[in-house]
């Protein structure tokens, strides 16, 4: 197994952990972390898989991932602003449908 | 195996050991102040040894100077961050751990 493919499978693992955490947690900050893990896993699969087919560096997915990382940090920053506004208004860091009696 | 390679491997292994010792100190030392002491000192020495090993391999003087510059900058940065952590801990009145208090401190941290 080439080392590129190993990292693609690592990305698969990150995606799985991300989805698991995203559904399990109710705290919004933890959900945001899980969402970011899912994103990183996707980037790893994208680059690792395309390079494992060629056996050398593939610049096109790398450029796409570079764009993706910058957009991901913008989305994270926006989500944090929203979470803080929500927390300031309601004193909770969870969504109302997750604040059940449990 | 040439003499250069032996010297390089010696320096690299010694540097890695220094990092291990620093991390061990981070885990085992009882309070904030002693932990920074372990991290900032041991890791700087470890990085220095690794930089020395890498310098033996480079052809151009410019590259060697760049590596030395990295070492210098990391030393200033780690001295600064160590100072800031200790300063902040002092502001927050985090107490120094006296000898013999280690067990109690570790227990209270696990809670």
């Amino acid at each position: 197994m080439s080392s590129y493919l190993i990292f693609a499978y690592g990305g698969v693992g990150l995606c799985g952990i991300g989805v698991f955490g995203f559904i399990l947690h109710t705290h919004l900050l933890r959900r945001l972390i899980a969402f970011n893990l899912l994103g990183s896993g996707t980037f790893l699969i994208l680059v690792g898989l395309s390079q494992s087919g060629r056996g050398e560096a593939d610049y096109i997915p790398q450029a796409l991932v570079l764009t993706g990382i910058v957009v991901a940090v913008a989305a994270t920053a926006l989500a944090l602003v929203l979470i803080r506004r929500w927390a300031a208004l309601t004193q909770h860091a969870t969504l109302p449908e997750d604040q059940g009696p449990s | 195996m040439s003499l250069l390679a032996i010297l390089q491997s010696f320096l690299l292994i010694a540097g890695a050991l220094m990092f291990c010792i620093g991390s061990l100190g981070l885990i085992r030392f009882p309070d904030t102040y002693t932990r920074i002491h372990a991290l900032t000192k041991a890791d700087n020495l470890g990085l220095g040894l690794i930089v020395l090993a890498l310098i033996l391999n480079v052809e151009s003087v410019a590259l060697a100077l760049k590596l030395l510059l990295i070492w210098g900058l990391v030393m200033i940065a780690s001295a600064l961050s160590g100072h800031l952590v200790a300063w902040e801990a002092d502001e927050q009145c985090i107490p120094l751990c006296q000898p013999g208090e280690t067990e109690r401190h570790l227990e209270s941290e696990d809670e």
């Binding site: 690592g10 705290h27 900050l29 610049y59 913008a74 994270t76 944090l80 004193q91 | 927050q92």
Partner: protein, 314 residues
């Protein structure tokens, strides 16, 4: 031997991901996440992608870490964060477990099939590289071949900043320019600032031929701005809305302006004349660097609803 390194890195990656999701303390979760970003930078090096490694170290670990830690301090003050319990009897746990396992299974099945690319895009890249104005393929793709992507990406950044400024609490007290009153911090940062700017501009310049470019340079610049803010220098500029918003749209406006210039000569939008392409790309990248740095910094600034507390000395 190399596979051993890769396997170790993947194990560390997955371990850190699990730790960052399932530790009890939120602070530790954020710390593990920052650590994950640094390990990811190493992974990108192993994947022969130094550009992404630079961006991941500066953006993924640096800027995201600052933002998360900052939000954490704020959330701790205002909202009660109940400890996360492993609720084995809840349907939510089983739903999460099945979904996670399903995603892993499906993706693993999907990538076990060998790829059969229909178009050899990489050949087209290497054929046209000589006409692109730069010699580094990634910069050529980002700013010449697929410059629409980059244009829209900057538009997304501006949009995110605009939404953030709209959500700013109108009733809150303005951000007070208080700072960490530490003399050593000031002295060292005065030494570091010129070097950080130099590194940022070098990354921009080197992007034409080596790994580097506008995104990495912008992230380094944003870090310099944040440090500026923490020692309380020159942040009056950021209090003024005209400078704040002007800085955001500067890069986008310059991009559109330079991209429209070929229209005067009957060429399509965003096509550069072959002989001048290098200058065009450098100009656009300079605007992008300044704007990306400024936008990332203002996202940090806008989320500051409570002023930095100056600690009372005991």
């Amino acid at each position: 031997m190399n596979e051993l390194i890769d396997l170790t890195l993947v194990c560390i990656l997955l371990g850190l991901a699990s730790l960052s999701l399932f530790t009890q303390s939120l602070f530790r979760a954020v710390m593990f996440f920052i650590l994950l970003g640094l390990i990811l930078a190493l992974v990108w090096i192993r994947l022969d992608a130094p550009d992404i490694a630079l961006a991941e170290a500066a953006i993924g670990a640096g800027i995201t870490g600052i933002l998360l830690l900052d939000a954490l301090a704020h959330l701790r003050a205002t909202s009660n964060t109940p400890p996360q319990l492993r609720q084995l009897k809840q349907p939510r746990f089983w739903l999460a477990l099945i979904s996670g396992a399903g995603v892993i299974l499906l993706l693993a099945l999907a990538i076990s099939e060998p790829l059969a690319p229909a178009v050899a895009l990489d050949l087209q890249v290497s054929e046209n590289l000589t006409n692109s104005g730069v010699t580094h393929p990634i910069t050529a793709i980002l700013l010449n071949f697929r410059s629409y992507d980059t244009l829209l990406e900057v538009a997304v950044l501006v949009l995110a900043a605009l939404v953030a400024v709209t959500l700013r609490q109108s009733d809150e007290h303005p951000v007070v320019n208080e700072y960490l009153p530490n003399p050593l911090l000031h002295a060292c940062l005065k030494l570091f600032f010129p070097m950080i700017f130099l590194v940022s501009m070098y990354l921009l310049w080197a992007g034409a031929a080596q790994p580097g470019g506008a995104f990495q340079a912008g992230a380094v610049l944003a870090a310099a701005f944040v440090l500026f803010y923490l020692v309380g220098l020159k942040t009056q500029l950021a209090q003024n809305d005209i400078y704040l918003k002007g800085g955001w749209i500067f890069g986008l406006a310059l991009f559109v302006l330079v991209g429209s210039m070929p229209l005067l000569y009957g060429q399509p939008f965003l096509t550069y004349p072959d002989s001048q392409a290098g200058i065009f790309i450098l100009l656009i990248e300079l605007g992008l660097t300044l704007s990306i740095g400024w936008i990332l910094f203002s996202m940090f600034l806008l989320s500051q609803s409570s002023p930095l507390q100056k600690k009372d000395s005991p």
